[in-house]
C-alpha cells in the first residue's frame, strides 16, 4: 500500500535518467540566480495574492456595512461598538474561551501522561501509539461528531454506562449545562497528535540523566519536575500554542452537534460558528469581518502572552 502510494506520487521522476542530454549550461550572475528562485516560487507568489489581498480587504470590510449586493458603506467603528452590545456574540466568546481553556490543558496533560508511559520502553509500542493517535485524525470528521451525538444521547451508551452505577440519565446534548462538556470530551479524545510530538521529544532526553538523578536519590516526582519538564518545555510550549490557536477556531463540532444552530440555548455556539451565521446566513459581511479581526487580535494576544511568559518556563539551552 505504501509503496504504491509513493509510486503514484511521482512515477515520472523515478523513470527519468539523472543525466542531462544537453551540454553544460552554466549561466552566471545574480540576476539569473534570482530568476530561478522566483520561478520556483511563482505559484506561491500568486497564492500569496489570495492571502495578502483578502487579509487587508477584510480589515477594510470590518469598518463597513456590506451585504454582498450593494457596495460596502464606511461606518467607522460602528461594527466594533455593536459587538459589545451583542449578547449572542459575548456568549459565543464565552463558549469558545471555556472550551479552549478547559480542553487544551486537559488534552495536553493526557498527551504528556500517556507519552511518558509509552516512553518507559514497552512492547507493542507501535500498536499503542496507533490506537491513541487514530482518534485525533477522526475528531473533526462529521461522522464522529454525529456518532458523539448518539453516544451521548438520552438513551445512548454513556447514559447506559452511568446506569450501571445507579446514576440517572443526563440529557447531555439537549441540556445547556452539559452540551459543551460532550465537545470538551471529544477534544480530549483527540490527544493523540500532541502525544506523538511529546513522545518524539521524550526520546531526545538521555536516559543517563535519570540514572544519575536516581543515584543521587531523586524521587520519581523530582525526576519529572527537574529533568522531564525543563527539557520538554520547548515542546510543551509548541503544543500549547498550536492547540490554543486551533481550538479558538473550532467550527464543525458545534455546527454538526446541533444542526448548525449552536444550541441548546447557544451553549455550543462557537465564535466561528456565530461568525459564519452572521456572514453567510444574515449576510452581515462587514460585521463578520469585524468579528474575524477581533478574534485575530485575541489569538495574537494569547500567543504573545505565551511567548512573553516563555522565558520564565521554557528552557532553550542544552
Amino acid at each position: 500500500m505504501t509503496t504504491s502510494t509513493e509510486a503514484a506520487v511521482m512515477p515520472e521522476a523515478a523513470a527519468r535518467p539523472a543525466r542531462s542530454p544537453r551540454g553544460p549550461r552554466r549561466p552566471h550572475g545574480r540576476a539569473h540566480k534570482d530568476r530561478a528562485g522566483y520561478l520556483f516560487l511563482l505559484p506561491w507568489f500568486i497564492g500569496m495574492l489570495f492571502t495578502v489581498v483578502p487579509f487587508f480587504a477584510s480589515l477594510y470590510l470590518a469598518f463597513t456595512d456590506y451585504d454582498l449586493l450593494s457596495s460596502p458603506e464606511w461606518i467607522g467603528l460602528q461594527n466594533f461598538a455593536d459587538m459589545f452590545d451583542d449578547p449572542v456574540l459575548l456568549k459565543s466568546l464565552k463558549v469558545t474561551f471555556i472550551y479552549t481553556f478547559v480542553s487544551v490543558p486537559l488534552s495536553l496533560a493526557a498527551a504528556l501522561g500517556v507519552a511518558m508511559i509509552l516512553n518507559r520502553g514497552i512492547k507493542a509500542l507501535p500498536v499503542y501509539r496507533a490506537v491513541f493517535y487514530l482518534p485525533s485524525l477522526l475528531g473533526a470528521s462529521v461522522a464522529v461528531v454525529l456518532l458523539w451525538r448518539y453516544v451521548f444521547g438520552l438513551d445512548g451508551i454513556v447514559n447506559a454506562f452511568l446506569g450501571w452505577f445507579g446514576m440517572d440519565a443526563i440529557a447531555w446534548t439537549s441540556d445547556p449545562d452539559f452540551a459543551l462538556t460532550t465537545l470538551i470530551i471529544l477534544h480530549i479524545w483527540t490527544f493523540g497528535s500532541p502525544m506523538v510530538i511529546f513522545l518524539a521529544g521524550l526520546r531526545q532526553i538521555p536516559v543517563m540523566y535519570y540514572e544519575a538523578a536516581a543515584v543521587d536519590g531523586a524521587s520519581k516526582w523530582r525526576r519529572f519536575r527537574s529533568i522531564t519538564l525543563p527539557l520538554l518545555s520547548p515542546i510543551i510550549f509548541f503544543n500549547l500554542i498550536q492547540s490554543i490557536i486551533a481550538s479558538f477556531q473550532t467550527f464543525t463540532q458545534g455546527f454538526v452537534m446541533n444542526n448548525g444552530g449552536g444550541g441548546p440555548a447557544n451553549s455550543t455556539l462557537f465564535y466561528n460558528l456565530y461568525l459564519y451565521q452572521q456572514g453567510f446566513n444574515q449576510f452581515n459581511m462587514g460585521y463578520a469581518s469585524a468579528m474575524a479581526w477581533t478574534l485575530l487580535v485575541i489569538i495574537a494576544a494569547f500567543t504573545a502572552l505565551t511567548f512573553f511568559t516563555a522565558k520564565y518556563w521554557v528552557n532553550y539551552d542544552n
Partner: protein, 299 residues
Amino acid sequence: MSTTAQSPRVKDRSDDDSLVERFGSTRRGRFTRHVALCLIGLFMMYPLLWLLSSSVKPNGLIFSDLALWPAEWNPSNYTDGWTALEYDFGVYFSNSIIIVVLSILGNLFSCSLAAYGFARLKFTGRKLFFALMLGTMMLPGHVLLIPQYILFAKLGWLNTYYPLLVPNFLATNAFYIFLMVQFMRSLPPELDDAARIDGCGPFRTFWSVILPLCRPAFATTAIFTFISVWNEFFGPLLYLTDPELYTVPLALRQFIDSEGQSQWGPMFAMSVLSLAPIIGFFIAGQKYLVKGIATTGLK
C-alpha cells in the same frame, strides 16, 4: 524502586519502534503500564467499535446496547444507507475522491516547487519571503474567509470545485512547504554542486536529483492532505449548494437534516464507510504520519 536503578537491563537501542525496557523498569511496573494503556485504549476505541457494530444492528437494537457483538445482524443498513439520500452515495464518494486526488496533486506540485526555492536556492528577499510563509502558517484562516468568498463569488466560482482546488495548486498550504523545506535541508548540499558540475540547471537538479530523494516527505504530504481534505466540512459547506456536488461529509449531515428518526442504522453504516478510507490510509502510512508530525512539530 530505586534499587532497580543499576539494573543491567538498561540497554541503549536507538531503534525507534522495537524499544526495549528502559531505565527503572520492573516486571510489576511493566504489567501495570500495560494494564493502564489497555484500559485507556479500550475507552478510546470503544465509540468506534460501537459505531461499527451499530452499523450492522437493526434499528431497534442500536441504543442502550453496549455490546459490541451484534445479537442480530442487519447488513441491509449498508444498502439502505447507500441510496437513502437524494443521490447515491456513489456520487458523493466520487466527488470526494476527485477533490482529494486533485488536492494531493496540487499540493505536491506547488509546495515542492516553493520548498525547493526556499531550501536550496539563493535569491534576493529569500529570508523575507520565508518569514512571510511561516507567518501565514500561524494566520487563522477565518480572517481571509469573507473576502475570499466575495472574490470567488465575483469569479463565478460558487457551486464549483474551484474554490476548494485552486488554492492547493498555488502553494497556500504553508505547513506542507515547511515540511518539505525541513526535509530538503537535510539532504547534503554536495548533491546540488555535483549536479551543477554535471551541467544541470536548477530545474533539472530539482527534477532529477532532489525530487526522487524527497519521496518520504511527499508521502507524508499526500497522507496529511488526504486526511484533511477528506474530512473537510467547512469549505464544501460554504461553496457547494447543489447536492449533486456534495462531498461525503456534507451528505452525511443530511441524515440529520431530514430528521428521519428511523435512519440510525443507515447513517451509521455510511459513517463507517466514510471513516474507512482514513483508517486505511492511516494504517498504511503510519510511519510517514508519525515522522511528519515529529519533524514539523519539533523544529
